[in-house]
């Protein structure tokens, strides 16, 4: 089995950059990843660029204009919150398929302000508040309440996710918010959509992340195997049919199928993972994804956060980067940024939050919106 390797990867710390164009953010991340590998744009044979809001405006080509317009193939893609991971996966497949042996994947986003989603239709009717809600906080609140109604998961358990991830962020110099939020503070902050309070929602920010992906032959030729991280599985799913998907967009089954495929491809069990970066766009999402990623049995997600197993130092630390709740969530960059966090640990470079002797890590992103079928990507990465 041929594998692809991450030989360079980095993240531009997320924030609001009103004065920098999207291609400038992407170019900076691309340079950081190239520098991490000690390579130049002239070494790169193809670029895969993910951006939800700029994919239809040749953002990848514009990045090359910034750093070297070498004429290589560029693919621009958008796949909701799975966009960055989708671009990364295109690079992995190009390498494992033997088309190229050194490619670049960039995820970049300049986000529009405010709540995502629209309110008006061509006929002027405003659905919001009449036919429920189409805001993303309300969607993930309902996904959390579905779990609560089935298994008795509590507001406090959901809130503990934010406590944990904000605590983790205090160890990550690149996280946007590096402030501990005690349980009472999370539970008493403004309710956006019950049970998600403001501190249980990810932050709308700009950002970019990039990765250099190589074949084993190229990594060896360039002397980069000491830093190479092996991509054991790179899986993507679209929402399969479920009876409720047309009323409540599914993020569970799409993740379960993707995770099962990834574990099978990688030949590892969930128990073999040393750490996980999963899609905590809202605190409620993290609990359901513990189960969807098979980190615990169905119904035990609430007990899992209570146990401290997913906390730094625990059995299976989750979102040691601080997660989207602390780092922010620039849609297209997120799926490469979480791969970067895993790579740091596998390379032993995660500083004060380093998982000791980390060997295998998993990343997960799931994207969609109210009324839309979703998308999910899972990557399993191994230390070489």
């Amino acid at each position: 089995m041929t594998h692809a390797y991450v030989v360079g990867i980095d993240v531009l710390p997320f924030g609001r950059f009103p004065d920098r164009a999207v291609e400038v953010l992407g170019a900076e991340a691309a340079w950081m990843a190239l520098d991490d590998a000690g390579l130049a744009i002239s070494n790169i044979q193809a670029l895969y660029c993910g951006s939800v809001f700029s994919a239809n405006q040749l953002v990848g080509q514009r990045i090359l204009r910034q750093i070297g317009q070498t004429g290589i193939p560029v693919v621009n893609c958008a796949n909701a919150c799975a966009t960055g991971a989708t671009a990364f996966r295109e690079g992995v497949m190009a390498v494992t398929g033997g088309h190229y042996d050194l490619v670049l994947a960039v995820g970049v986003e300049k986000m529009p302000a405010g709540l995502l989603g629209g309110t008006s239709r061509p006929d002027g009717f405003v659905e919001e508040g009449i036919f429920g809600s189409s805001t993303t906080p309300a969607l993930f609140a309902q996904i959390g309440m579905e779990h609560a109604m089935l298994y008795g998961t509590t507001f406090e358990q959901f809130a503990k996710v934010a406590v944990k991830n904000h605590f983790h962020a205090t160890f990550n110099p690149k996280a946007m918010y590096r402030q501990e939020t005690p349980l009472e503070m999370v539970m008493e902050s403004e309710v956006i959509a019950w049970p998600n309070t403001k501190l249980m929602c990810s932050v709308n920010v700009d950002g970019a992340a990039a990765a250099v992906i190589a074949s084993e032959a190229a990594a060896r030729r360039l002397g980069l195997m000491d830093r190479a991280v092996r991509v054991l599985a790179s899986e993507l799913t679209s929402a399969p049919y479920t009876p409720q998907d047309m009323a409540l967009s599914d993020f569970n089954e799409v993740t379960r199928v993707c995770a099962a495929n990834a574990y099978r491809k990688a030949g590892v069990d969930p128990g073999a993972l040393d750490l996980v970066e999963l899609h905590d766009c809202f605190a409620t999402a993290e609990i359901v994804h513990y189960e969807n990623l098979m980190l615990c049995d169905a119904g035990l997600g609430g007990a899992m956060i209570d146990s401290g197993e997913t906390m730094i130092g625990g059995r299976i630390p989750v979102n040691l980067s601080g997660g989207l709740l602390s780092k922010g969530h620039p849609l297209g960059a997120t799926g490469i940024a979480n791969i970067q966090e895993i790579c740091l640990h596998l390379r032993g470079q995660a500083g004060s939050r380093q998982v000791p002797e980390a060997r295998i890590g998993l990343t997960h992103v799931a994207g969609g919106g109210a009324g839309l079928p979703s998308s999910c990507a899972v990557h399993i990465l191994e230390k070489t």
């Binding site: 429920g132 809600s133 109604m149 309710v191 019950w194 109210a370």
Partner: protein, 140 residues
């Protein structure tokens, strides 16, 4: 003459009893109930197997949230809910007639589908008609 009301939901129809109802689709091949307008069965892919399926006006609360912050201009709080209708089909809507208090809203509680005016008007002046959910029977 006052303009006739306009249904605000694409699946609203005049039902067999002369009142409003929601007409979804059902697949004759696999039985799936689809609450969207689709070309073939979403569940099994069967073509030309879809027949109109009138959703029941009763069901059970599948999930909900109390929305306290929404898009600018939208009145909050309100309860956004998903209901599993008796006989099949899930739909999203607003649950009225309950306190905005999670202690008072129970998973699986029976609800009914109610049709009525929304307070919104089309450009022609026609009132928009919609549906919402209300608790059915006695609440604990």
């Amino acid at each position: 003459m006052k303009p006739l009301p306009v249904p605000a939901h694409r699946l609203m129809r005049i039902g067999s009893n002369g009142g409003f109802c929601i007409v979804a689709m059902q697949c004759r091949a696999c039985g799936a109930v689809l609450t969207d307008q689709v070309r073939a069965c979403t569940a099994c892919g069967a073509r030309e197997a879809l027949v109109p399926f009138e959703l029941s006006s009763t069901g059970r609360l599948h999930t909900y949230t109390i929305v306290r912050r929404s898009f600018p201009g939208v009145e909050v709080p309100f309860v956004a809910a998903v209901v599993a209708l008796d006989g099949g089909g899930y739909i999203q809507g607003t649950l009225k007639g309950v306190a905005h208090d999670p202690e008072k809203i129970n998973g699986g509680m029976p609800v009914t589908l109610v049709f009525g005016e929304t307070g919104q008007q089309a450009e022609s002046g026609a009132p928009f008609l919609a549906y919402h959910f209300e608790p059915a029977g006695e609440q604990p």
